[in-house]
Symmetry: C2
Subunit: 481 residues, 2 copies
């Protein structure tokens, strides 16, 4: 029996006991996992820092995000509205008599999760996908990312310790390693859904495997995003300095390895735009090169920026300013300017690292037309002045079709874990645009509805019984919070 | 330009105006479509009766279901909770300052719908898929089913009349015909999601097309279900007569052409079970043969029942009783008995028409073991006596993994259009087990989340503005109904 088969079978065997723990039992488990992370915080951060070089400040912040998320999901379980408990009592209707019907969301079964390289503590083994699947009541088998194997093993151990602490079997959570294990996980007949964050190429290959199964399963993948950001003529004219420095900070944050890095900047042609481009180059000059997540990622980044530097359509904005170190081991920030008319599909591919493309537009029509040609995005951002409401409305009309989150000012890096967050969007930013991978509603991905017709009370889950379970329910069509 | 391309482009052009009509504008449109059906009721029913032979009583009932559904969805839009309006005000959090975030569900864009053969008025051009997509705010292009072309055209015209009545462009709804048109619809780049009800083979081929697109889209398909029904030893012993007659009524209702026909009956071996099997045969003898939806469907039905009659593992329960007419143009009811041990994959394929397989089980272990081997189902039903609670709990444990709706007594035919209904289930009963194709929550299939960050009030949809829109919202984590 392969390691994948063993882990999935072990996880599948816990399905009933994990679900029977109920909302509050699972909430306690999430809290216990958060406690276990806190107890091992120092060693986890040190391990992750050795493997990624992201530094203790960032890694401590990531771990805090993860524990915050686990505790928030525990609250979501206790509040209980996420199960969408719905009761329609037997009644006469214009369609004739209706039976007693009661609907609830139940866990789909074992879930396969792929750890991501760029957030070793927040989108990897212990990240939002795993936390949301466990919250849903689904056993999980994680495929660890090879970029940080020791971090994966250490966080995995802490999570199992948390499960054990509340008396649940540790095999609710399994972990496998290796490329082939990933494919096997997606193909395993007992795996009912998959979560993935990574490259468009790798993600699409796995998506195709999931769709080609005898019983296809949902594949919730986040495959890449360019995160266009539009600077209006008004902003270029009135606050270019302030913008340039903040923008370069967002692009180079975490050595540009965020899925929400604003990698496409639309700025006007003409004098104001030219000045903005100069300021961007200057801001870049004060930015350091940084260690990237893996040598493979760094090599790919350097090859792509070299290609762009040699592309006659592009102009390097970092040419004058020496952006940080020349150390070939580091990822060196780079910005390239291009005319909107010169864009092609290749230039619109994500380049993972501290770089962005600054696209010059001649007028509003060219701006809007270019925006209609880009793929689905996690985010789109507009920086405008108060007087540019017409332009903002037109941009909104185009961008809302293409992105999952629209920002008005600010930068998309930094994804708040909260009810109103949506982290997803049209393909390829998400393979399933109807769901998010961040925030309480991400739990919905791992649930399916189940209706009971004329069921005796003893069969019904507590949330659907006559006795008030103390959670929001919809009864005979009326939602009661 | 092909007819599909034309219809999709015309529909896509209405996206903005249809969405701008807002919840109440679309609710008015749904009501106007219902009115248009009522105004043309007599002619619609007569046309459908000519093409399907389902009879005016059934067809009038179907049309009533469709208008009821449209008006219910209009109420759902006015109530407004379905958009899941969520506001998180800017705040300090343990993760640092949080921006103002507001989340809403928005239409995905143009939707392709495949009309089904078996409900010309309730799951075809004017059925639940079309109604739910329009409710969501998505323009729709329907691929008409060839089993009832005139009915499709007439109901299509009525729906367009309804749209026109409220001042909306009629091209919000398009219709195409022909097998190739169906494939083209699924592949069209401007189609963002597909709804389908039909056979496992045809549905899977279209599912594969949807998954293979450069930008894959969700394919919400209902591909078939056997709807197992378990009779416990207690029921076989105490009320076999009553059960046998009601069960045969459910199997042969609508000439057995319902997706929820209870086509697998689990009954105990032994004296009580044998008596039940005799009673089933007798009940069958009083049941008439009926005209099936198309000659192709009838031919397939007759071929399959002939194959089963010749299968040495099966015993015909209709052999003694002459079930209705011998007219080869009609679908003749037939029941076959088989031992659980003799079941194989072929016998567990759906046979569309007035037939069922009566599976004899020797004991509880064999019953549960056999049930664990069946595919995903729309429904599963248990008929038990009050004293059999242990058995009911064990059956519940197995069946809840495999079905979308669990019935305790009664029959699955008849699917109430109400909040607590779930019509779906694990594959192949549904290709996406997380969503329903009947009831208000079916609208969720055609929506995707969109978050606004620090957006000015004038950009926000009404449901997300500071001013109370009079709908349920979640504000800073608290759900307010």
């Amino acid at each position: 029996m392969s390691a994948v088969d063993q882990a999935v079978r072990d996880a599948a065997e816990t399905t009933a006991v994990f679900e029977q723990a109920g909302r509050t039992g699972r909430a306690d488990a999430l809290d216990a996992i958060a406690d276990a992370f806190e107890a091992d915080r120092e060693a986890i951060v040190a391990t992750a820092d050795r493997e990624t070089g992201l530094g203790p400040t960032r890694l401590n912040g990531e771990l805090t995000r993860t524990t915050f998320q686990l505790r928030l999901f525990a609250e979501v379980l206790r509040e209980g509205s996420y199960v969408e408990a719905t009761i329609d009592h037997a009644a006469d209707t214009p369609m004739g008599p209706r039976p007693d019907l009661r609907r609830i969301l139940v866990p789909v079964g074992v879930v396969g999760i792929f750890g991501a390289s760029n957030f070793p503590l927040a989108f990897s083994v212990p990240g939002g996908d795993t936390a949301s699947a466990l919250a849903a009541g689904c056993p999980v088998v994680v495929k660890a990312h090879p970029a940080h194997p020791e971090t994966s093993r250490r966080t995995f151990a802490a999570m199992r310790a948390g499960l054990t602490k509340v008396g649940l079997p540790e095999t609710i959570l399994g972990m496998v390693e290796g490329l082939e294990a990933g494919a096997d996980l997606v193909r395993h007949p007992d795996v009912r859904a998959v979560g993935f964050t990574g490259s468009t190429r790798g993600g699409r290959a796995l998506y195709d495997l999931a769709a080609a199964r005898p019983e296809p399963i949902p594949f919730y993948g986040e495959l890449g995003s360019l995160n266009p950001l539009v600077v209006t003529p008004g902003v270029a004219a009135s606050r270019a300095e302030e913008f340039a420095s903040a923008y370069v900070g967002s692009v180079t944050m975490g050595v540009g390895q965020f899925c929400t890095k604003p990698g496409l900047l639309f700025a006007p042609e003409g004098a104001d735009g030219d000045r903005l481009r100069s300021l961007l180059g200057e801001a870049l000059g004060t930015t350091s090169a940084g260690r990237m997540l893996t040598d493979t990622i760094r090599d790919a980044y350097q090859a792509e920026t070299a290609r762009r530097a040699a592309d006659s359509r592009l102009r390097s904005l970092s040419a004058g300013a020496d952006a940080g170190s020349d150390d070939p081991a580091l990822g060196r920030p780079a910005l390239f300017a291009v005319a909107a008319a010169d864009l092609d599909a290749e230039l619109l591919e994500e380049c993972f690292g501290p770089t962005a493309l600054v696209i010059g537009y001649r007028d509003t029509d060219e701006l809007l037309d270019t925006l209609t040609r880009i793929d689905g995005q996690l985010t789109a951002t507009v920086h405008a002045t108060d007087g540019e409401t017409d332009l903002v409305e037109r941009l909104h009309g185009v961008l809302r079709q293409r992105a999952g989150r629209l920002l008005f000012g600010g930068f998309p890096t930094g994804v708040a874990v909260t009810w109103a967050m949506h982290h997803g969007g049209p393909y390829p930013s998400a393979t399933v645009s109807g769901h998010t991978s961040v925030g309480p509603t991400s739990i919905r991905r791992w649930l399916r509805p189940l209706s009971y017709q004329n069921a005796p009370q003893y069969v019904l889950p507590a949330e659907l019984r006559d006795e008030d379970p103390g959670i929001p329910r919809r009864v005979n069509g009326i939602l009661k919070a």
